[in-house]
């Protein structure tokens, strides 16, 4: 009985002790895993997602290549125990395909695919635990994994969910809140302040949407700062591991990340 839980109480606290505009804890781990070119595990509260990026590399299937740019291939795997109801979702499950399509659509305008004609970039998303804000977590994880893999991006993509409770807007909803409120997921490019995704899960009036949307854009900046910090930490680790300043090889993407940092610092 979710109606027995107060979404926002008179003291201004949400059911998990946060206030309206407080985001959940974000933990980022960018340690390389296996043979992937870039890896990132991200946790938004209790939602946990890890993303591995392979490529850019030669396409496995010739028929799917494009002569002028690289192809993004997104596959999502939702672990059966990640959600409340234990349920095995096949790769062809409609919801999973939709999730993959949203991620792909979000990154297609951001990844500089034209630099790698006839290549393929594989993004494997694994959902380990779900407690609301799944799509934003997948997007943020993908941004970090792409950055780690050295794939050139026009900008970071930072996503967050937001919902409306009565007259109050709430940021970064938990599963409990998502079940009760109309909400949207918004992905922004912090540098250009462009929006690459706005996914509405439930009916929301256009006036209300505008407000929620603006708020989510602002929250994107906060998340960006957190992601930048993680990338910088990872960079410093790499630099330290190599014992010296930037060199050839992995240094290439390290540089780009730092550059992106500076640009973003204008905001």
């Amino acid at each position: 009985m979710s109606s027995r839980i107060e979404i926002l109480n008179d003291g201004g606290y949400r059911s998990d002790g946060r206030r309206q505009y407080e985001l959940r804890d974000i933990t980022i781990d960018m340690t390389p895993q296996g043979s992937a070119d870039g890896c990132a595990s991200i946790a938004h509260g209790l939602t946990q997602v890890s993303v591995s990026v392979f490529g850019p590399r030669e396409a496995k299937q010739r028929s799917q290549t494009l002569h002028d740019r690289a192809v993004l291939n997104v596959e999502v795997n939702v672990l059966p125990f990640s959600t409340g109801e234990r349920r095995r979702r096949g790769r062809a499950d409609r919801r999973i395909l939709e999730l993959a399509a949203s991620i792909k659509a979000t990154f297609e305008p951001v990844v500089q695919t034209t630099l790698y004609p006839r290549a393929q970039i594989d993004i494997f998303v694994s959902v380990q635990q779900q407690d609301g804000g799944l799509l934003p977590a997948c997007i943020n994880g993908t941004t970090l994994a792409l950055a780690a893999a050295g794939v050139p991006l026009l900008d970071f993509v930072c996503a967050v969910s937001a919902g409306v409770h009565g007259a109050a807007a709430l940021l970064d909803l938990s599963a409990l809140e998502e079940g009760d409120l109309p909400h949207a997921a918004v992905a922004v490019l912090p540098r250009t302040k462009k929006v690459t995704l706005a996914a509405l899960e439930t009916r929301l009036h256009v006036d209300r949407f505008a407000e929620v949307f603006r708020l989510a854009c602002d929250a994107g900046q906060t998340i960006h700062a957190e992601m930048r910090r993680a990338v910088r930490t990872r960079t410093q680790e790499l630099v330290a591991a190599m014992g010296a300043g930037p060199r050839a090889g992995p240094g290439e993407h390290v540089d780009r990340d730092v550059a992106m940092d500076d640009d973003a610092a204008d905001y």
Partner: protein, 992 residues
Amino acid sequence: MVEITIRKRPRTEAVVTQRKFFKKTARGKVIKVLRERYLRDDVTCGIEGCRVCSESSDATLPSSGSLDHSSYPDGHFVLPDTNVFLAQMDLMESPLFSPPIILLQTVMEEVRHRSLPLYNRLKALVKADDKQIWVFYNEYRSETAVIREEGETPNDRNDRGIRKATSWYNSHISITRPPVKGQPNRPLPTVVLLTDDVANRQKAEKEGIACISVRKYVEASKDSGKLSDLLSAPGSDNIEPTRAAGARQVLYPDYLPMSTLIAGVKAGQLHQGHFNANQYNYLEGNVPVSAFEKPILLIGRENMNRAVQGDVVVVEVFDPKEWKAPADEVVDQETTLKNDDADDSEEEVEDEEGITERKVMQSEASIRSLSAKQPTGRIVGIIKRNWRSYVCHIESTSLMSSNPTSLSQQTVFATPVSRLLPRIRMRTRQAPTLLGQKILVTIDRWDATSRYPDGHFVRALGRAESKEAEQESLLLEYDVPYRPFGKAILDCLPSEGDAWVVPPKADAVPEWKDREDLRGLIICSIDPPGCQDIDDALHARPLPNGNIEAGVHIADVSHFVHPDTPMDNEAAARGSTVYLVDKRIDMLPSLLGTNLCSLRPHVERLAFSVIWELTPEADIVNVRFTKSVIASKSAFTYDEAQVRKDDPNLNDDLTKSIRLLNSLAQKLKAGRMAAGALNLASPEVKIHLDSAESSDPIDVEQKVLKETNSLVEEFMLLANISVAQKIQETFPQTAVLRRHLPPPPTNFEKLKDILQKRKGMTLDVSSSGALAASLDQCVDLEEPAFNTLVRIMTTRCMLSAEYFCSGSVARDTFGHYGLASPIYTHFTSPIRRYADVLAHRQLAAAINFSPLHATLHSKSHIERVLEIVNRRHRMAQMAGRASVEFYVGLALKSRSEKETVIEDAFVIRTFRNGLGVFVSKLGIEGLVMFKREIQFDADNYTISVPSASGAESTTIAVFDKVRVQIEVEKDKNTQRGKVKMTLVSPIDSRAL
């Protein structure tokens, strides 16, 4: 830009803050539930001047606590546990109980889970101006949060959390007030845990926490005498702990466990519904359920099994062989049980009263009519109690000692004013002083061993029959919020106060933005005499193309009342203005209602206008909506407008406008009637008060409707329909509309049968149009009032109209049955109805005048608000009617002191031992009781009274016109006036 932060959660906290657990759903699936909690250090203690909690500007607790309690000379704060609020809410609400209270989140949430009505009272209490309550969110503060340990019950966990918070407070106080060198150590106030749980107190004492029971706390406080009456009846185990439980006679069957009830209802073996008591017979009640067309009849105390009016109950239906018709007898609790002793009724194995009751039941059973059988059953469990405080009188006969100085505790009976409720047993030390007063009593519990529910005294309202006490008891009985408006609400009014005027027209003035200047139009208002809150005004003028422009101008309340402000929330909670005969309880502060919003003549006012172009046949060519500024030219009463319209010597613009409106209204009405609208009637009378000071009613008069009443009504209906169409078009999911569902045909069965048998008339209820037509045929040429009576009785078979949110119900159920309109809303009285305020906001957004507030996009929010408004609306109507009834009673009383009051009446019901009659001149119903045996024919709705000689008998049937003598006699027991009717003609019943 608002500050957006990430709530960081230290890794080490994860054990406390994250929870994964498995839950089994109703369908048997196992679900993993993830929850996390963020602990913080910025949850404030609420004590004024606390040096640690920075944002204590809104703190409500005085820094030294309360110094009024003898046990805590150094000052104290009270921290009650959950059960204190569950069991002793009346104490908590009493203005005499005023220590600073710390309310824990844990306690709030537990109350919420246990009882929503109590939770709502608790929330109101937190907001009350005269209380010092601070809600401490202990579950979110890192030092006070607790997690359930293995093997610990939720209850124990909560108790531990409450103790932890208490000791945190005490140490917080000592940390934040370190001793200052050179100054004497100031004693620190104590935070006292208030709990009636003995085990919890023992644990607390062990942990060094100050704690006390409610009774002990109250006994040592200032107003202990008055406060201790407010304590609820203690549970049976601690009243007389010495008496063995087995010694008590079990009078009622036990309830089944909740799980059995729910399973049984799901399986269709048991049925769930609201319990309705029978106002004529206290030994009978019924429960309407969806599985049966007729409600399930409950006969006798055991079968009603401690249900109280309004409770949600579960019923087991008996075998059809045992189905019976309702009793045709009037059984009065006061007379049948007059000898029952409040103090010992629960012990006697088979007391006299039980036997009397049984006799009544047996004699009844033998003669129950066979024709109208309905399912019978018994109550096997209660889903939800709907107990509240009831207005009662103390029964003088139940007092042991009426010595006015006696302060001994006595057990007495309190009889509720409402006939639908059982008498309540309560213990009080103030019994003698409460005699003859109206008092408020709450039911606490009803044990299987007790014939009556146990309750406790809440407060006295004043001498019975005094206008103040009657007025307040009426407001309480119908749950009308009547407190004066608080400061926060009054702060929402324009700062200019009554000096506010529409500013001069200019481009930059916000009031004039997007407003049409209609000051030049010949607009007037037509209302009942003495109307101060003028919601609506009208105009009409011919157009060059031969059509007519007509306009309805409604007070622009939404200009002053902004969404989600204290004033708006209060108006939503009140729902409606309540009109009593001698008092008006406003929905909005009177500065708005009777002045700034009121469309008074000769001043400029803001309005929301609906303007039509109509053909001379009153067909709509087009309609537009606009915010406007108007200047009404005159405020007429219905009579004045009528006279002006009919005066052939007057030919000014205003008069012409009224005539034009009138001719259109007639055509509109004809159109509505042709479409099948009903012309219903309710027994409305008007009370004339001769002067404001004495307010003694001098006359009761039946309301006469003039042509001009109908004029205003037609245009208001038209405006409401036009607005409904517009907002439904723009906001299909959330438009605030009003509908009237067609009544189920079974509602009319009895009335149809009576009409057929007694008058040979047929009522066709297949559609509203057919009903309207057949009602027109129900005419008794010798008895013009007969048709009105039939209309009144028809109205009682109807369902009531209700507000709803357009996205919440199926599109084909939008219709308004009575008005025969496919869509309808309320737009025309925003000063006195909250639904109209919502409609105004939606219309303003629909015409792009202003954006719609967030809450009005939310279906669930609108549903919530409308549910309250619907309830308030119903209650307001009933309160208004009850107020009229009270004054009719007063009028009768003063008349009967001068003369014998004899009036015409219609018989509307027949009983085995009496008649139900309706006196249309006074708009009241009454009972004529026969003491002697009479013959009763239930199938033909007649009674026969043998004449004194026994040779011939007089037959009286439903719809017969009789003459009754009406007296008001004072009930010796309850000290209230009771209308008593006796038959004068065709026979004299006084001897019978």
